[in-house]
């Protein structure tokens, strides 16, 4: 258990974002300890400097006094800071360990980082792209991996980050206190990628979500445990924005297209065919493959193209590989509906 002192500011302060984990108040206390010690040292140093500059400024008749020597003084200003710093080190290490070692009963969520998306996998195998529904009031351990380059899973409001390293699992855990819900249906927490992971070259929609390092972000929706359990059973529901639209599925599909990062490679204007094929008029079109065969693009083909993109490579696309996406059945249906809505042939 973490028994270090706490500083509570649930909605954040001028310097720090809102506190969305049980760890955050501990970290923030330490932050403000270091902050005020620093302010005190800075004021002392620059204050003395200013006083000396004024008091001993050069003026007619002012001569400097020869420098003396004072070994006890030298030793004092070596040893006193050393003791203070070792105290800080100790507190810092303690809080670090409590963010690293998860409680035994923590809910385990796999996080897979890939250029420029976050995939979350729940214990029952349900996956979500760039968003995840999670319960409040329970410790959640994130097991982080990367399928391409380095990334870093950063949750500012939890005060935690851990790199996603190809070939290595890293972990971190935190728990969002129940009180943070404050009667709302859910609270959202941002995930950023904090380790530089590049951008595609020459793509014009660089500022859309999930198209480069700076937009590689995900949102964690924290909900009551009961809602989470329900979600695990049925898979993710269509987003609220699409409810009541005439074509809920294609509206949802378009959202997935934006949020899951398909947009980084696929255009829908019927013109641009790079880096991935254009989706306009794809549905029902006869697609030619690299191996010479061809097939009409139907729902099954689109499903396979998403789950196993390497199974059939469209002719002319050998240089860029599309990564496989683990979307739920409902989400795939939505993407199919969306592609269909872009026009059939």
């Amino acid at each position: 258990m973490n028994d270090t002192p706490v500083f509570n500011a649930p909605n954040g302060t001028l310097q720090l974002p809102p506190q969305m984990s049980t760890l955050a108040p501990h970290v923030d206390w330490l932050y403000y300890l270091v902050f005020w010690c620093s302010v005190a040292s800075f004021v002392a140093i620059v204050g003395l400097m200013t006083i000396y500059i004024i008091k001993y400024r050069r003026r007619p008749g002012r001569k400097s006094l020869p420098t003396g020597h004072n070994t006890p003084l030298e030793i004092a200003w070596t040893v006193i800071p050393l003791i203070l710093l070792m105290g800080l080190f100790h507190l810092g290490f303690k809080n670090y360990m409590s963010g690293l070692v998860a409680p035994k009963d923590a809910l385990q969520i796999h996080v897979r980082a890939m250029q420029w998306n976050w995939e979350f996998e729940h214990p029952n195998g349900t996956t979500q792209m760039n968003e995840a529904m999670l319960p409040v009031g329970v410790p959640i351990q994130f097991i982080i991996s990367s399928s391409d380059v380095l990334h870093s899973f950063y949750v500012p409001e939890a005060r935690l980050k851990r790199d996603a390293v190809p070939g290595l699992y890293t972990t971190l855990w935190f728990e969002v206190p129940k009180e943070r819900l404050q009667g709302k249906k859910d609270v959202d927490v941002w995930v950023f990628c904090a380790e530089y992971c590049g951008a595609p070259h020459g793509i014009t929609n660089g500022s859309e979500a999930n198209t480069n390092h700076s937009t590689m972000r995900a949102q964690l929706h924290f909900v009551p445990q009961s809602v989470y359990d329900d979600f695990l059973k049925k898979g993710p529901p269509p987003p609220p924005e699409c409810e009541g639209k005439p074509n809920v599925a294609s509206c949802w599909g378009e959202q997935i297209y934006e949020q899951a990062g398909c947009r980084a490679c696929h255009h829908t204007d019927g013109v641009t065919e790079q880096p991935g094929p254009n989706w306009k008029g794809l549905f029902g079109h006869n697609v030619k493959f690299e191996d010479g065969t061809s097939q009409v693009a139907d729902a099954n083909y689109i499903r396979q193209s998403i789950l196993q993109p390497q199974a059939k490579i469209v002719a002319g696309y050998t240089t860029i590989n599309m990564p496989p996406y683990r979307l739920s059945d409902r989400e795939i249906d939505a993407v199919v509906a969306y592609i269909k809505s872009l026009g059939e042939q």
Binding site: L30, S38, M49, S64, L85, F89, L91, A194, P200
Partner: protein, 562 residues
């Protein structure tokens, strides 16, 4: 000559015969520069080169800050932005900060402060300059070959993907590394072997102590960079599986290698700046440095500690908890010698006779800004806080406070301080102070807002950001423009001085330092006769008033003094 209260305004030089023999007029023509073995001329060539690099890196910085004025696209695409910050980082680190003080100012003043005729190996010195030029050209060539967007850290596996521009950039850094090793070797040998009679180790100017400590790090650490970059080049061209996890390599290994060099490199960058501060603060308070041996030894302690803390760059990288603990503890130790320096500088001001001429303003600026840089380093050394702050703008602000507030301010302090000696010309002091005002304010506005951005969770190297961060980003960009204006004013002031400046006297600042004992600009062999030092470079109590204000040589043969 008049002495105004509070400031030593250099007056007209002690009327010496107009065309004295000096290192600038002893030979003329382009070949006399390009093939020179004179450390002073090599120093001047280095100075021009690093200033050009600084200008290029600065333009990239302004482009970056302009792009960040608004979220999303402001003036460029994401991939161009990534290229901009990569070029800004690599050029500023490898082409500017590392060579700036040692290779430009150090080359010029190390032999003079030692009373030597030249460095120990003048030919090696020239070679090091040409390696610098070659390395810079190869590095900048990466822009032409393709698109370099790895960041100055070249982290694998990202740097293993992509085009061959990474090979050029790392190849350039590899060559630049050799240039810096050669300078280091030269300085070590010169300091050991070529001190004039009377310059004992305890009378060594502190600038030399810091260059010496720097040289030791350069010689020991730079080969590691060379090996790392070579491994990266091999991995990229031959895929042998050192860093690529798909081939059984380990990408984190690269991070270890890289920081094993690059943390010590931080001290390659900051120690020389501290050396300049030692010289300037004693000159402008007319007082021997407080705790000379503590200051000298703290440089050496920093040099040693710098090799033991590289792991603090990997606290979030999945290193073992024990390694993390040890690296955090060692990192805290670095604060001690840094603190000692600050306390000793303060104690030097105490009971001095302080003049606020422009070099001193930069030095005082250094102390204030380096203090902020150091204190924010304590945040980052504290493990739990680093996990929040790592790879955010907090880190960006922290190292700019150390590298710009520290090293660049130290460099500017040295440039203002030694400019009269190097060029023989004075500059307009009022304009210099105005430029300082712009640079100091602009710098703080730019980077203080970045501390807040970072503690609020804004990651670094971001082309785009959430709307909530925009006010701070705009503030930061505004500061960058003020900073830019400051540098333009300063550049104009120095150019004006070069062409129209008043002639500088031998010792315009009234310093007791050895380099002020020779003529201005210095004699081709530094001192017309080998000097014999009978006192230390900071023994103000042994100097007469006349020495301090009229220059030393005017005391010498009557023929030279009016």
């Amino acid at each position: 000559m008049t002495v105004k209260a509070g400031v030593a305004i250099p007056g007209t030089p002690s009327e010496t015969t107009d065309e004295e023999l000096n290192y600038l007029n002893n030979k003329t023509g382009i070949k006399s520069w390009l093939l020179t073995l004179d450390h002073k001329r090599i120093g001047v060539m280095y100075l021009w080169s690093v200033l050009i690099a600084f200008l290029i890196g600065g333009v990239f910085a302004l482009l970056i800050r302009t792009e960040l004025l608004t979220p999303g696209k402001t003036i460029m695409e994401a991939d161009t932005y990534n290229e901009m910050f990569t070029l800004h980082g690599t050029i500023m680190v490898f082409l500017f900060i590392i060579p700036a003080i040692p290779a430009a100012l150090g080359n010029f003043f190390l032999p003079i402060q030692l009373g030597a005729k030249d460095v120990a190996f003048p030919r090696l010195n020239l070679l090091s300059y040409y390696l610098y030029v070659l390395g810079s050209l190869v590095a900048i060539g990466s822009i032409i070959v393709g698109h370099i967007d790895t960041g100055w850290t070249f982290y694998t596996p990202y740097s293993l993907e992509g085009n061959s521009s990474v090979l050029f950039m790392t190849g350039g850094a590899f060559i630049l590394g050799f240039s810096s090793i050669l300078t280091g070797v030269n300085f070590i040998a010169t300091t050991h072997k070529m001190r004039a009679p009377g310059i004992t180790w305890r009378r060594l100017p502190l600038f030399i102590w810091s260059l010496y400590a720097t040289a030791v790090i350069q010689v020991l650490a730079t080969p590691v960079l060379a090996i790392t970059l070579l491994l990266l080049i091999l991995e990229k061209t031959m895929t042998i599986g050192i860093f690529d996890s798909r081939l059984g390599g380990d990408p984190v290994l690269f991070e270890h290698f890289f920081w094993f060099y690059s943390h010590p490199a931080v001290y390659i960058m900051i120690l020389p700046g501290m050396g300049v501060v030692n010289e300037v603060i004693t000159t402008f308070s007319h007082r021997r440095i407080y705790g000379y041996m503590f200051v000298a030894m703290s440089s050496v302690a920093l040099a040693i500690l710098s090799f033991l803390v590289w792991g603090h760059h990997l606290f979030a990288a999945g290193m073992s908890a024990y390694a993390t603990m040890v690296f955090s503890m060692l990192t805290f130790l670095v604060a001690i010698p840094s603190g000692i320096k600050i306390f000793n500088w303060l104690a030097t001001l105490y009971q001095g006779s302080i003049s606020l001429a422009s070099p001193m303003l930069y030095t005082l600026g250094f102390i204030a800004l380096f203090t902020i840089g150091g204190l924010t380093g304590v945040f980052l050394g504290t493990l739990a806080l680093d996990i929040h702050l790592h790879d955010t703008y907090f880190v960006v602000a922290h190292f700019h406070y150390v590298m710009v507030g520290g090293t660049v301010f130290g460099f500017l302090s040295g440039l203002h301080y030694w400019w009269p000696k190097m060029t023989g010309k004075m500059y307009n002091e009022t304009v210099a102070r105005i430029a300082f005002g712009f640079v100091f304010i602009g710098f703080n506005v730019t980077f203080f807002s970045q501390f807040l951005l970072g503690s609020q969770g804004m990651p670094r190297r971001y082309y785009d950001y959430l709307d909530q961060y925009q006010p701070l980003h705009m503030t930061s960009s505004g500061g960058a423009y003020i900073l830019g204006v400051g540098f333009v004013i300063m550049g104009a002031m120095f150019l004006h001085s070069l062409f129209k400046g008043k002639k500088a006297s031998e010792n315009p600042w009234g310093s007791a330092g050895y380099e002020w004992m020779t003529s201005t600009p210095p004699h081709p062999e530094n001192f017309a006769e080998t000097p014999v030092m009978t006192r230390g470079p900071y023994d103000y109590e042994l100097c007469t008033e006349a020495e301090l204000y009229e220059g030393f040589r005017s005391e010498l043969p009557a023929a030279l003094a009016e």
